[in-house]
């Protein structure tokens, strides 16, 4: 009788990069496979085991009517359902369609738009089903993925920081790229997790991990203005892999400040 806990990996609209992170833990992969039964992971194996599953990792966003139904089936067979990566937690870069005309988008890419079945929006998994934990990143960080899987299997809360990238720069001793080089950086409003990767390469953070807890966007706006980037420029910089999460964050902040 198989007694190991079961892990399933599911894909929705995405680039496969976050589930690839599970195969990228080369030194630990076979050890994980000894302790966990990888019961459904089509990118890695043709063998599948029937659910229910102890932990489901979900990659990708909901962009088609079929996906909106399939995620409910995944929820129904999962004890814990956790989403991995910016597509699953925020809708991904493909959520830019939420602010455009989908018919224009289809016509721009396909000669026969009538063959295409798509939703007008790309939305995070949590808009459709209950999610037990969201792991941010475009792509996710594989050390955080290992922590998440271990925590879920031990049925404890994962230890994942929600502070900003600035804290990671300080702890790595990386000089602030805005202060010392005048490079616009999204680090102050972006959640940690990458290890302050871009500043370590003399580049401003571009927001792969989405909004940090209580980001001060107004303060960032004035910083960027002083560096010669107008509000439109900042909005464009925020409108990438986590566009939907930053927009919702802004709406919540506006509602909180609105006396009505």
């Amino acid at each position: 009788m198989e007694s190991r806990p079961t892990l399933a990996v599911w894909k929705f609209s995405s680039c496969d990069g976050c589930q690839l992170s599970l195969l990228d833990v080369e030194d630990d992969l076979l050890a994980i496979a000894d302790r966990v039964q990888i019961a459904h992971f089509l990118e890695a194996s043709s063998a599948t085991v029937e659910g229910p599953y102890d932990v489901s990792l979900v990659e990708g966003s909901i962009t088609t009517p079929e996906e909106a139904e399939r995620i409910k089936e995944v929820r129904a067979v999962s004890h814990a359902l956790v989403t991995i990566g910016a597509c699953a937690t925020a809708g991904g870069i493909q959520a830019l369609r939420n602010y455009a005309d989908i018919d224009d988008y289809v016509a721009a890419v396909y000669a026969s738009p009538e063959y295409i079945s798509t939703l007008a929006t790309s939305t995070p998994i949590a808009d459709h089903v209950d999610v037990d934990f969201e792991l941010r990143g475009c792509p996710i960080n594989k050390k955080q993925l290992l922590e998440l899987v271990s925590a879920m299997l031990q049925r404890r809360k994962p230890s994942i920081a929600t502070h900003s990238v600035c804290v990671e720069c300080k702890s790595r001793g990386i000089p602030c790229v805005m202060v010392s080089h005048g490079i616009p950086c999204l680090g102050p409003v972006t959640q940690a997790g990458c290890g302050a990767l871009c500043p370590a390469y003399n580049r401003g953070c571009f927001g792969c991990f989405g909004p940090a807890e209580t980001p001060n966007l107004a303060s960032l706006e004035s910083w960027w203005r002083n560096l010669g980037v107008d509000e439109k420029g900042l909005q464009r910089a925020l409108a990438t892999f986590n566009v939907e999460a930053f927009r919702r964050q802004r709406e919540r902040a506006n509602t909180a400040h609105d006396p009505d």
Partner: protein
């Protein structure tokens, strides 16, 4: 007159490919009537969402098309933008790009050879299952893959969606010392790659051949990776700027992927078989020696043997990375200055799966007005279907389960990347 016997064989989700697709085969009286690959990976509309973005954003945005070959997308986008803006980068920057790309070839080929493809030949469902009986072999593959990833981390900042590349060059050029840390792992990886060639060459192969035109980039003095002319074994030899005049895409109802054809409507194939056929003489001496040792002929038209060709390319990528590191001189500036121009630019590179073409139209501010991206799996889709038809013709007397397995294997021979091609697999075999 007897009733025709009809058989339908179907796979709903093809495993061990990147992305989602299905296949169906219809046989009437044991003859193949119809073969279809259906790509139902949902469209993400990259070419549309790029409109209105800055030309500088294209490498980071297009890398998100594929988590397995992000560097390919970054490099093709960069080539197109630099073509358009008239930028020539210094030799150290070109070599650093080639080095980063070697990392992606090592990572992607090791993933495909060991985790996705070899289990087919040895009768396992996947690498984890294979590891129970062949732990040392799977560990070798994982170490190779890890070395490719380490190379991408040092040069690109991270292995998936690297952060250090930009139009004009890099944000920060690695130091000689940083690259030296890669020498020992790469030397071990090169030995593992040589063992990989010997291991895969010993698999059982059905003797078969694809007969379509083979298309790849080629360069005069090196095995083409990050740049080259578009050439074929039928005499095509054009600059990347002429790509659109020689190939076109069509949209068919069954698939969210566009199908590419030559302008005369014919089918062609890109990827390892094409590269090896056109440029094997430009591989490193060690890669050529190992290929000769295992009897890998030039050209190799057997898609099942693509696993051996990929393994030879693994040897080459390790060898080439070591050569670049050995000769590396830090560039004076990590990037060239780039000023946008209005116009149209073209870029193509050799993704691990084959030719990847980008075309952009910019205004004078550098805003993207139009984008066209043709990934290798779109280009290979017709060739895969034609090959599948021949495989079914040859193996139609197998039981459905066995036939289905052979068909799935035939598809995986081409290392289809469905996430990329959407604009790919269920396997369905219908016998009528």
């Amino acid at each position: 007159m007897s009733e025709p016997t009809r058989r339908t064989i179907q796979t709903d989700y093809l495993a061990r490919v990147e992305g989602e697709g299905a296949m169906s085969v219809r046989l009437v009286d044991g003859k193949v009537d119809e073969v279809e690959l259906r790509i139902f990976e949902p469209p993400r509309f990259f070419e549309a969402l790029l409109r209105g973005r800055s030309f500088l954003e294209a490498p980071d945005i297009t890398s998100r098309i594929c988590g397995i070959c992000p560097v390919a997308y970054q490099m093709s986008a960069i080539n197109a933008m630099e073509d358009l803006c008239g930028v020539e980068v210094s030799e150290p920057i070109r070599l650093l790009r080639r080095l980063l790309y070697c990392g992606e070839w090592i990572e992607s080929h090791a993933l495909h050879v060991y985790m996705l493809h070899a289990p087919d030949f040895l009768g396992y469902d996947g690498a984890v299952e294979m590891a129970r009986e062949h732990p040392d072999v799977v560990q070798r593959g994982l170490q190779l893959k890890k070395t490719g990833n380490e190379l991408m981390i040092v040069v690109g900042g991270r292995e998936i969606h690297p952060v250090n590349v930009k139009v004009g060059g890099f944000y920060r050029a690695p130091t000689r010392g940083e690259l030296q840390t890669l020498v020992q792992p790469l030397e071990r990886a090169r030995e593992a790659a040589v063992e990989t060639v010997r291991w895969t060459a010993g698999f059982d192969f059905p003797e078969r051949a694809v007969d379509c035109e083979l298309v790849a980039l080629a360069a005069p003095d090196a095995y083409a990776i990050e740049q080259g002319r578009v050439v074929s074994d039928h005499g095509l030899d054009i600059g990347v700027q002429e790509y659109n005049d020689n190939f076109y895409e069509e949209h068919v109802a069954r698939s969210n992927a566009l199908h590419s054809r030559r302008t005369d409507g014919s089918t062609y194939l890109c990827g390892p078989l094409a590269r090896y056929a056109l440029s094997a003489d430009r591989l490193s001496p060690l890669a050529r020696e190992v290929a000769a040792e295992v009897g890998l002929e030039v050209p190799c038209r057997d898609a099942f043997r693509s696993i051996v060709v990929r393994s030879v390319e693994l040897v080459y990528a390790c060898d080439e990375a070591l050569r670049i590191i050995d000769e590396y001189e830090e560039p004076d500036a990590p990037a060239a200055e780039v000023e946008p121009r209005a116009g149209v630019g073209h870029g193509a590179t050799e993704a691990p799966r084959g030719l990847l073409y980008h075309r952009y139209e910019l205004d004078s501010e550098g805003t993207i007005l139009d984008a066209k991206i043709v990934p290798p799996t779109s280009q290979n889709q017709l060739a895969i279907e034609e090959d599948l038809r021949q495989v079914v013709d040859r193996y139609h007397d197998l039981a459905d389960d066995e036939l289905k397995h052979v068909c799935e294997q035939a598809i995986r021979n081409f290392d289809p990347c469905i996430s990329c091609a959407t604009h790919f697999l269920d396997l369905e075999i219908v016998r009528e």
